[in-house]
Symmetry: C2
Subunit: 301 residues, 2 copies
């Protein structure tokens, strides 16, 4: 493992692969069970995902000058939550998706009951890792703040609440405020948590910097979701790895469908600019988060 000083000397782009490798090794260790449920959990996590949220944890940790050893548990935890949410979102009673990154979704590969339980157990595992990783439990106040921050991001005022609003909005025409509020919960809450978990290790961070970091995360999360909606309309199935146009098929409320593709691109640019201003105000080593922001808001998959 590189030290923080060596880290700073190398651009984040060149360290992405080794960070992902380390996170996946840790996930692999926790997902080694040999029963059917454990297999379904591992299948749902080792799915060719881009591990954006663990990367956000690490990038935010670099900004805040956090020891990388303290970032592994929160990085794994946010990824486990993300993967559980995909499994449940894909269920027949929800978005009823057959493909996820080019493979059968968990309930098709196994069965529906197993998929529900795998999601449930992945959520529990996220909190187990956060609450028991030795590097973190040596800082119990920070670890506890992380548990609370992540739990809030997952619940009715976060991701689960956002998914409920999303289902409510099918076939509706919400206004921009309502749609963006739904996005802020459904996608934004976990992106925000990914960026704020490292800040749990910096209780001395001034309130203004914390607020700027939060605002940065919210711009990034919203821009990321609008990009996702654009890709669903404009992308090809082979490239995005899920059924293109699946949002339209479900009559989902999406930003470009409601307000147009060109305005969607302008909105993303606006959010990217705002994110950049907020990040500069936080200060510190912004290289990693800037690079990730650029990658997330200018992507074709």
């Amino acid at each position: 493992m590189l030290s923080r000083q060596e880290n700073a000397a190398q651009p984040f782009a060149q360290r992405v692969d080794s960070i992902i490798k380390r996170v996946e090794a840790c996930l692999d260790e926790h997902l080694a069970g040999s029963d059917q449920l454990s297999h379904a959990m591992a299948y749902s996590v080792f799915n060719g995902g881009k591990r954006l949220r663990p990367l956000l944890v690490h990038a935010s940790g670099e900004l805040l000058d956090i020891d990388p050893d303290l970032l592994l548990a929160p990085a794994c935890a946010v990824e486990l939550i993300h993967c559980y949410s995909l499994v449940h979102d894909d269920l027949p009673a929800m978005d009823d998706d057959a493909l996820r990154r080019g493979r059968p979704t968990t309930h098709l590969q196994f069965d529906e009951a197993t998929a529900i339980l795998a999601g449930d157990a992945l959520q529990a595992m996220a909190f187990e890792i956060l609450a028991s990783e030795p590097a973190l439990t040596a800082r119990p106040n920070s670890a506890l703040r992380m548990c609370a921050t992540l739990a809030r991001a997952c619940g009715a005022q976060g991701m689960a609440g956002g998914q409920a609003l999303d289902l409510d909005m099918e076939g509706q025409r919400p206004d921009k405020t309502a749609l963006e509020h739904m996005f802020a919960l459904k996608t934004g809450a976990l992106i925000r948590a990914s960026i704020l978990l490292p800040a749990c290790l910096r209780p001395e961070l001034p309130a203004a910097a914390h607020a700027d970091l939060t605002k940065f995360a919210d711009c990034l999360g919203l821009g990321f979701q609008i990009c996702d909606d654009l890709l669903d309309i404009e992308g090809e199935t082979a490239v995005i790895g899920k059924t293109a146009g699946s949002d339209q098929a479900l009559d989902k409320a999406t930003w470009p469908a409601l307000f147009g593709c060109d305005p969607a691109r302008s909105r993303i640019a606006e959010l990217a600019a705002e994110a950049s201003i907020c990040l500069d105000r936080v200060g510190g080593n912004t290289e990693a988060l800037s690079w990730l922001t650029d990658r997330l808001l200018n992507r074709d998959r």
Copy 2:
């Protein structure tokens, strides 16, 4: 609130109602949202449940002489986990139950997607409360141990794993060891957590006492589940509040169905005796836990 000294003077049976009232007031505060998801969560928690697990937390807390103010968060957390598990277990893909304590199950009262999300959000809320209750966060090491203990009890090596085994065993004839292992996870893990969460506040508890308390919890959990199976066969729908004989209809693996009702009653008596021996070995004020054990292993609903 009574002090610990006053508590000891009054038998637990006379304090059950006030403990439940306090736990429910705390749950009510956290479940006050006005959106559909919050309504489904509240519906799933305020369901006429007996709050056995919060009572176990309090009874175990009395044994270990824990300040009752520190027991409220874990009591709420275990009840939220229990309620979420009922919502998910009742889903069509799982046990497909229509009635729960005489009322429509959550997916029938709302819809399936809402029930899945309500369960997900209730699980998150359990960890949010454990990780953010001020009385507890003042003891961050203990609170963190509670989070880890509860998370392990919920996951693939606990409740979710047990429910997966239970579904696997439908139509099977497992031997006694396999069946009791499934019970130890499905029902036992959360009962054990209820009894061990207060011990997270007593890191100085000798290992032998901790082991005896764990063994006590495991006997209680297993006996409780065998009682449940007996009631499902012998009880009437009106008394037990769910469809009597529903286990048989699903061809569930149950203790009395596989090994007989009289042997089931003997096994419960054996477990009750073993629980009592373990509890006496732990020592301290065993009145509350003894009373609860008797109530749980000699019940008609």
